[in-house]
């Protein structure tokens, strides 16, 4: 299927739904590649707090990077999702990969394992 769409209106900030119908985040960033002399292409979408920080103000990247390196789970700065994994676009963006295959739920797993699961009653 081929059709045109607008990157800001139809893709940026939309919810990402994985292959198991779980929300895995939002399209925080979009990456375009520019081949020498060739037509630019949208190649992937990204999830990540650092991207949001840069969108607010570029100077926030350093403190955000420092926080990621010193606190919380060890994880990639950004979750990179290649365009070929986008199956359907509508109000939400549906993917053919599972959130568990990516670092999208790194914070969720870390908080659950380290803190929340240890509190009585957290599993019922």
């Amino acid at each position: 299927m081929s059709s045109t769409f607008y990157v800001v209106r139809d893709l940026l900030d939309k919810k990402l739904i994985d292959s198991g119908n779980t929300q895995m985040g939002r399209v925080d960033g979009i990456v375009l590649e520019f081949p020498q002399g060739g037509q630019p292409r949208l190649v992937r979408v990204e999830i990540g707090g650092e991207i949001l920080a840069i969108r607010v103000a570029r100077w926030l990247i350093r403190p955000t990077r420092w926080l990621r390196q010193h606190f919380g789970p060890k994880r990639a700065a950004r979750v990179k999702i290649e365009w070929r994994h986008v199956k359907r676009m509508g109000r939400d963006i549906h993917l053919d990969i599972a959130a568990a295959e990516t670092d999208a739920l790194a914070w969720e797993r870390w908080l659950s394992d380290r803190i929340v699961s240890r509190i009585p009653g957290s599993n019922s």
Partner: protein, 106 residues
């Protein structure tokens, strides 16, 4: 092969071939593909602050009801007429007159 994030492009001020200010990159239209999406054109808007805030805030149905001057409609700059060699200073490779002509025809 160079890669750029969308946030590095959006909002950048754009000049035309005569070094005249043409607007800011506000949107990118792409052709959807299975592996990648090809960029068709960049929407460069030469709008005042009021117009930008209102288009941001007003629903599409209301926007259509408000008459806008042709001057405030965005330029549709085909991908091959946008020079992004220096990301911080994008340049349109034609004069604005040509873009205005294309806008009124299209």
């Amino acid at each position: 092969m160079r890669e750029l994030n969308l946030y590095e492009l959006l909002g950048r001020k754009v000049c035309d071939a005569n070094d005249e200010y043409a607007g800011c990159i506000e949107e990118i239209e792409v052709e959807r593909g299975d592996e990648k999406c090809a960029v068709k054109c960049y929407l460069v808007a030469h709008r005042g602050l009021i117009a930008r805030i209102t288009s941001w805030a007003i629903a599409d149905s209301l926007q259509k009801a408000i008459p806008v001057s042709e001057k405030s409609l965005p330029y549709r700059v085909p991908w091959n007429q946008m020079d992004l060699t220096v990301t911080e200073h994008p340049r349109i490779t034609v004069a604005q007159a040509e873009l205005r002509k294309a806008r009124s025809e299209g």
